[in-house]
Symmetry: C2
Subunit: 394 residues, 2 copies
Amino acid sequence: MSEASNPYAPSPYDEVSNVGNFQLIESTLREGEQFANAFFSTEKKIEIAKALDDFGVDYIELTSPVASEQSRMDCEAICKLGLKAKILTHIRCHMDDAKVAVETGVDGVDVVIGTSQFLRQYSHGKDMNYIAKSAVEVIEFVKSKGLEIRFSSEDSFRSDIVDLLNIYKTVDAIGVNRVGIADTVGCANPRQVYELVKTLKNVVSCDIECHFHDDTGCAIGNAYSALEAGARLIDVSVLGIGERNGITPLGGLMARMIVSAPDYVKSKYKLHKLRDLENLVAEAVQVNLPFNSPITGFCAFTHKAGIHAKAILANPSTYEILNPADFGMTRYIHFANRLTGWNAIKSRVEQLNLHLTDDQIKDVTAKIKKIGDVRQLGIDDVDTIIKDFHSELQ
Amino acid sequence: MSEASNPYAPSPYDEVSNVGNFQLIESTLREGEQFANAFFSTEKKIEIAKALDDFGVDYIELTSPVASEQSRMDCEAICKLGLKAKILTHIRCHMDDAKVAVETGVDGVDVVIGTSQFLRQYSHGKDMNYIAKSAVEVIEFVKSKGLEIRFSSEDSFRSDIVDLLNIYKTVDAIGVNRVGIADTVGCANPRQVYELVKTLKNVVSCDIECHFHDDTGCAIGNAYSALEAGARLIDVSVLGIGERNGITPLGGLMARMIVSAPDYVKSKYKLHKLRDLENLVAEAVQVNLPFNSPITGFCAFTHKAGIHAKAILANPSTYEILNPADFGMTRYIHFANRLTGWNAIKSRVEQLNLHLTDDQIKDVTAKIKKIGDVRQLGIDDVDTIIKDFHSELQ
């Protein structure tokens, strides 16, 4: 009996985490095109594809060539760019779509079909036998063309677990490259994700890819839990753009992963390009960067309360798990407000190249806090108060 | 031997989930005041406190009365409003602060002290014995005044687990009302949270409160995992505003919890007031609502891809886990784009009160997709195409 088939062999489970060995399927040009505001011209798609490739994503996923004539031509154009990233397109589990997809020049095809009772009843109306039969036909066809092939269920967390495992086992047996789990409605929670991936990991030998919508705010936490349970690939888009509120955002996932696997993340992805990439896409879809965007939000590295400022000045690791320099960003100590403390003001006094004793700094801090109680302060206001205080001492 | 002390008694663990029995500590007026842009006048604080109370939060947490003279007066003013929510203030673990806090009229005091090596070294410089001694003194003092008292560590996930459990056990034994876990730097992940809360749950008999910063995008997932492990209270703020990128957002947590505990959430919180509450705070701190804000983001209930629109029109549950009507919001099917499908166009034709056969609708859909390939379409454009097509048939 081989070790792999021995049910009493040590569980491979605790060894399966891919937190330090994950890959990104970047879907701004597929899922992102389903964002309400997205209309990408051919030139814009090419610009985004090149920027994603430069950033270092492993795969770039494109809208189905069947969606429209221009979608097909854009797919072909991006395949001809000779990017390092592998190019994928995303189609329905149907031979009509597959035949068009394999002619575009893509490196791989992502096939998806709804497996939940909801999607089977209201979307395509097919039963699981039909789904399995179509899947096998499409997979074998795409493989026969020498391309990578992924099979994903849709709405996986509301699908029958036995149906799901059956179809994944079937497609794994015929040599699919990846199977995908998709939280299409954004309802999954981290422990649920961990359990499903862990179960699936014991059923298939191929890689597992995960796709999480963010309707209930768990898309990053779910992605992390999936990697811990042995998933290998996560679908992301720039700023998370996609259907409704979109999916796991590239920037947020980078923030999560650099904390857990700093060497891997820093060696693989050009993190200092993240801001430009987000600005490029935000401009293309006419949205503002959310004020609280991970890493790139205007306040991501701003410290305000006096107690925080004091410790940050002594050692940034006290209140920062991310180093802004890794992303080409800078730290800012907000000292012009009533919550400020004398350590923050001391730092400002030094920046202004003035000389005050600690007691004097405490006095001027009290003055600043008092004025800050009455009105909102700007940096200029505080500088003026400090300079006036300093002059009066002379 | 009592059942509780029998180490071989059934683990209480699987019964401890508070997903359907959680409480909110709303900290827009404390953590939120540490947001870079926040400057709340007394009138604005009162307006926000009343709106939070009307929404139905369990607790409202206010900035320390020691932070500034106006902070103390504002705290007293809010205590006098006679709100249903209990009023808390948040202080350092120090008798000087506690003496001021108990005189403000608050219902309870939240005490916090840094327990990680980072904060002990660079913030307050105290050892664990000193921390325990101060904690006991402050807790007994606040209790003697008949007020609720919470003791929280700071930077809990980078603190020594033995130190942490020791101090929590000590404060639990003297009758603290709640102990708090704080992910001050936003580095925790959901499984780690689950494990720490589960461990702590077996050490203390009081309630557990959790505070999660969102630097790595897991603040909602972490909150959910904490409740699953038996935490009872979650700290939130409107739009998540706080130090750096802030904490678990109220709206996002509502989205998460309504999926898991719909009756509890709908009976307890006035969800249709969420949008007004977010607009009130966004305006006060001069930020735009993020485009992808859970529930209230402009695209949270917008469906675009043809395949999605088809199913949504047949049954909204197919691609929506949240019902927009629960929040006073509406669903929107985006049909004016090249990814549109004939089911979405059919729905629009019906809205326009025109009569076309399915084949005719498929023809006009092809026409719309073709034009949508060349340029971005507005609703007016599509309506014009449909009407022209309809006229030509007459």
